[in-house]
Amino acid sequence: MNLANSITIELEGRKIKVPEGLTVIESLWDTGHDVKRGVGCLSGLCGACTVVYLEKDSKKVRFGLGCQKVIEDGLIVIMLPYFPSRVAHYLLTSMDSPLQHLAEIYSELYTCNDCKACNVCPEWIDVARVMKAAKDEDYETATNHITDCIMCGLCASRCPKGIAPQHVALFIQRALVVERLFPPNLHQRLSEMESLKFEQELARVAAMGTDELESYCHTLGEA
């Protein structure tokens, strides 16, 4: 290891020199930490590698992902790969209009006083806005903003009321789908399949040899 271009950081409470340009996860590996619990996709999507850091001369502790945060000189950083969050127990398939049960299932949501401490999302989600929309029963707005949620739980770690916004939002997202209109095009296709509309043609095509199938494919064209 060439330490000529190295910088000094404080990693998991230990001041140490590491080569510049590494991510937090890579610096942990480089310095002998056998990190497995906080590693997943290495692409910033699985939410396993959350970190808390303080940059040099900064007054504000920040939050991010260990596979995405590139280290800088003077950085103080620890991993926070897990934060205890309550997950409610419910069976969506046995509920008629699940959204009406939100207040029982996640009653803590209604203690939210919009302090916005949860706005630390590494995916730039305005978590406070999602929670406010949820409280105001504007469920479409709430779900529209959580498609990018990676369930890392950093927002939950900041909430003084002990709300786990990622689980509340996921319940709303799931419940909303159950209450939506069943897609007409899927309904149509399912009934066609039930009446075996494609069965014969599919059996015929599946029985074709390679050459025959290849020329059949050419005749299909674009739909």
């Binding site: 692409s43 949620c149 897609p183």
Partner: protein, 531 residues
């Protein structure tokens, strides 16, 4: 942030942009395309392959990386393991991605007790990285017959008829199931499932959830598993060996507890192996888009148990993986960027291939440019070509990149690269294992009571997989294998043994093979050598 030579190279991209807007590059005629593949595609590089000397597929061609694992003794001392089961269950699911989760849910709903063991956390998988969407024929212009033809044609007609038929026939039912458990697919104005076209697909068939399709499905599956009382989840416990009974049928697995650093045995009536692909073996030194745990473990342990493999000499190299910044090497840049008109450019700022060619041809063309000295070098000496993303903003309007590809945009903004103003350096990345362990239409392998689902399975995608079919395949065969495995719940699993391992090792010994490898690999070795 770009600097030095790379900044200079970007000037050339900017200089040619206006001219390139009008430039047309024809698709390669079949013969020229084949020649390009033969010369530059990694699957055709004979020196990277060898024929297996042991096992069911003796004589079959595969990469050195896989052959090294199959032709070796495990570093595990199999003679000293205590084979008394610590857990007894009906269905043991190995793997916590989309396929494993689906198998567990269906097995449970059919009345089986299920244990799901995974190497990392439940949900840490390649499923969450599936961005573009899932192929299902729900559009009125589309049909399962078209889906069948597209899948077979893309796989160069090497896929198995019964598997592809199962795939396309089950699609609509699978979407219904996903909707029932609360997966929020994108809709059009009247509530239809929104369908999109993509390369190699003859009708609008991709259904999606923004650019985070797999992630949003996995979140729901994981949540749902937590609600089912008969599914026990065991995280950080990868499988290192399967177990068999007196008749050679699979009846459990040896797992390794990463925390306690000890092995333990789970006995089951049936096992569903869903541990995914092998990108982290970094075939031929390629970067990969795969997650940390994708080390091909399923191939190794199933092969020792006598399961037949198929097509494990065929891999998908996605033409556009990130090559710079260094910490993102291998991360996938979706096909959609090229579909929107993004150009691929060499160091001179010139196009060298029609960007809408199939994945294998585009990948081969990029490799050709880099090998012939037309690549752009990074500080650490790796080469790549430019993907002209600012061009898309010029064609489709300002802000389109941030809107359509929010996660890619964000990840690069974090390191001060604005892809709406600067191009992105890319190089082919090892993306998908086209082959795997051969299954029948219920997901069962040639070893009785051993099922496989997901990327670990082989026979579906032939020699090339078309976009969106992997996401469908994990649910279709997850469901089929979960249901079929749970039907075995009244079986007597028999005595837990490692007899198959002994006989496999005897074969190795008779061939004077004595190499010992960490097999299965479990975790890739990370050598941080960037400077």
């Amino acid at each position: 942030m770009y600097s030095g030579a790379m900044s200079d190279a970007i000037e050339k991209v900017n200089a040619t942009r206006e001219r390139r807007k009008l430039e047309q590059i024809a698709l390669l005629p079949e013969e020229a395309a084949q020649k390009l593949l033969n010369s530059y595609h990694p699957d055709y590089r004979e020196s990277a392959f060898r024929n297996l000397r042991v096992g069911v597929n003796c004589g079959a061609r595969t990469t050195h990386e896989i052959a090294d694992l199959l032709e070796s003794f495990s570093d595990l001392d199999y003679t000293k393991i205590d084979l008394r089961p610590e857990y007894d269950t009906d269905v043991l699911v190995l793997g916590g991605g989309g396929a494993g989760a689906t198998a567990a849910l269906f097995a449970e709903s059919n009345g089986a007790r299920v244990m799901l063991a995974t190497k990392l956390r439940l949900g840490n998988s390649n499923t969450i990285m599936a961005m573009g969407g899932m192929q299902v024929s729900v559009d009125e212009r589309d049909s399962p017959v078209r889906h069948y033809c597209d899948t077979m044609a893309a796989g160069k007609f090497a896929g198995r008829e019964c598997l592809v038929k199962a795939l396309v026939n089950d699609g609509p039912q699978i979407v219904k199931w996903l909707l029932d458990i609360g997966v929020d697919f994108d809709r059009d104005a009247i509530g239809n499932l929104l369908t999109k076209k993509a390369g190699g697909i003859s009708a609008p068939r991709l259904i999606s959830i923004g650019d985070h399709t797999g992630l949003n499905i996995m979140k729901v599956l994981k949540d749902e598993i937590g609600m089912r009382d008969s599914i026990e989840v065991s995280e950080f416990t990868p499988a290192v060996e399967l177990t068999t009974n007196e008749a050679g049928e699979c009846n459990g697995a040896v797992l390794f507890d990463l925390g306690r650093k000890r092995h333990f045995v789970v006995r089951a009536k049936a096992v569903v192996l869903a541990t995914g692909g092998s990108g982290r073996l970094h075939m031929q030194g390629f970067p990969t888009s795969n997650n940390f745990g994708a080390t091909g473990d399923a191939l190794v342990i199933a092969y020792r148990a006598g399961a037949r493999l198929e097509g494990v000499d065929s891999f998908q190299y996605h033409p556009t993986g990130v090559m710079f910044p260094e910490h993102m090497v291998g991360v996938l840049v979706t096909e959609a960027i090229r579909s929107l008109g993004g150009h691929l450019l060499n160091a001179k700022g010139e196009r060298f291939v029609n960007e809408l060619e199939t994945r294998d041809i585009c990948a081969a063309a990029v490799i050709r440019e880099c090998e012939n000295g037309n690549g752009v070098m990074t500080r650490s000496g790796k080469g790549g070509v430019w993907l002209d993303t600012p061009l898309i903003e010029e064609i489709s309007g300002k802000g389109v990149l941030r809107k359509r590809f929010p996660s890619l945009y964000r990840h690069l903004m974090r390191v001060k690269i604005d892809i709406s103003k600067q191009p992105l350096l890319v190089f082919p990345t090892l993306h998908y294992q086209n082959g795997g362990i051969l299954i029948d239409k219920n997901g069962e392998t040639t070893v009785k009571n051993l099922f496989v689902a997901g990327e670990a399975a082989g026979g579906i995608h032939g020699r090339n997989r078309v976009m969106g079919n992997a996401l469908l395949d994990i649910f279709v065969f997850g469901k089929r294998s979960g249901l079929a495995a749970s039907e075995k719940r009244f079986n007597d699993p028999g005595k837990v043994t490692l007899t198959h391992v002994y006989s496999y090792y005897n074969m190795l010994k008779s061939l004077r093979i004595s190499s010992v490898a960490k097999s299965p690999t479990l975790f890739p070795e990370f050598i941080v050598n960037k400077l």
